[in-house]
Amino acid sequence: MAHSTTHKHESNTKRIWFVFALLSVVTAVEVFLGIVKPDFLVDTTFLAMKLLNWIFIILTLYKAYYIAWAFMHLEGESTGLRRAVVWTALFLICYLMFILLTEGDYIFDVYKNNHVAWDF
């Protein structure tokens, strides 16, 4: 409540429409790349992942940043709240992803190279 009475809100409409345009363009680029699938992006891999997938993930994080900062107004929250929200989620998710993806890759190797019959 104090939030809405102590300091005046100037209208953010301009920024909102700018972010909307940005998100739309990024989505359009993603869809375009997803349909065209340029060969050099599919054939080149970086850290065991196709360049195309790296682009998708980076663009996704870029969109997520704008949604959280501009739409959810994290940029206007106090540093403490912002860090409590973002850092907690970010560290836990990175950890979870690392553990599970490593394990999934390991199981794939076991099925592929070891003497485990799974297709009979």
Binding site: M1, A2, H3, S4, T5, H9, S11, N12, T13, I16, W17, V19, F20, L23, S24, T27, A28, E30, V31, G34, I35, V42, N53, F56, I57, L59, T60, K63, A64, I67, A68, A70, F71, M72, H73, E77, S78, G80, L81, A84, V85, T88, A89, L92, I93, L96, M97, L100, L101, E103, G104, D105, I107, F108, Y111, K112, W118, D119, F120
Partner: protein
Amino acid sequence: MEATVIRTGTEGKTWGGGNDPLRASYGKMMMWFFIVSDALTFSGFLAAYGFSRFKFIDSWPIADEVFNHFPFLHGVDAPMYYVAFMTFILIFSSVTMVLAVDAGHHMKKGKVTLYMFLTIIGGAIFVGSQAWEWKNFIQGEYGAVTTNGGNILQFVDGEGERVAIADFVADLPVTRVANQRNTGIWFSDNETLPEYTIEEVKAGFAANDNVLIRTKMFDENGEKTILSREESIEKLNTEAIGVVQGANLTENEYGPPLFADFFFFITGFHGFHVFSGVIINIIIFFNVILGTYERRGSYEMVEKVGLYWHFVDLVWVFVFTFFYLV
């Protein structure tokens, strides 16, 4: 009241109470913490999806082939256009939501009402679109054959174009009937029988020389492996045990059963969030119309449901990437 307050001599100091270091109201802060925990739930789902995908990295279905429907364009291969449309709808409803919040800061009741209304419409279109996606996914298009090892065999013609089972299947006399309750004393219900039997598929396959089998394994070019005619016949006769059309939780015509399971659980859980978001938006919408927040002197409730609504959009951005793009 005054008499019951215990004076500690710390009023106005840091530990005297009454200050809020995060400078956010209780409700807004709790909405944020709920969002963090919900984000972790979704991450759990998506991480599990990633795990299964890495486990089946050489045989996962190609999303472009599975989600290639567009309304009123039957039989046209339209990969991703519809999901792109859905994504756009959700982003736009996020925009109208944030515009409603912005109008709320200026206490413009009319504008808040209009933007909340548009947000609800956007949410409803999204949920409807998702239902339509589910319908297509469950119904399936080409059908496939299941094998002993739990794999899927799909059919293609000489040019590598997908062929539906219905296009080449032979019409054999019916030998299998779905039993009902009234045909046995202890019998409850039979599973739904697929439209064609495996024998009909085998006979039809033998009669059509140009049909080949496509396995779910990727070859070195990143395409699904297509077997030669001899290999196809061999594979079909030794391994095929059943016909599958569309998808359910135990089997599907696209690839590993886990693919459909994750599709149902992740998009379903997200769809449930959108649905509840629409409901909450409707409640707040009526409160706005009734002037509740006008009287309260603050539209902070709109801001709080706005946070939830943006979160739903945020999750979709990730689901879109990991389910449809990557």
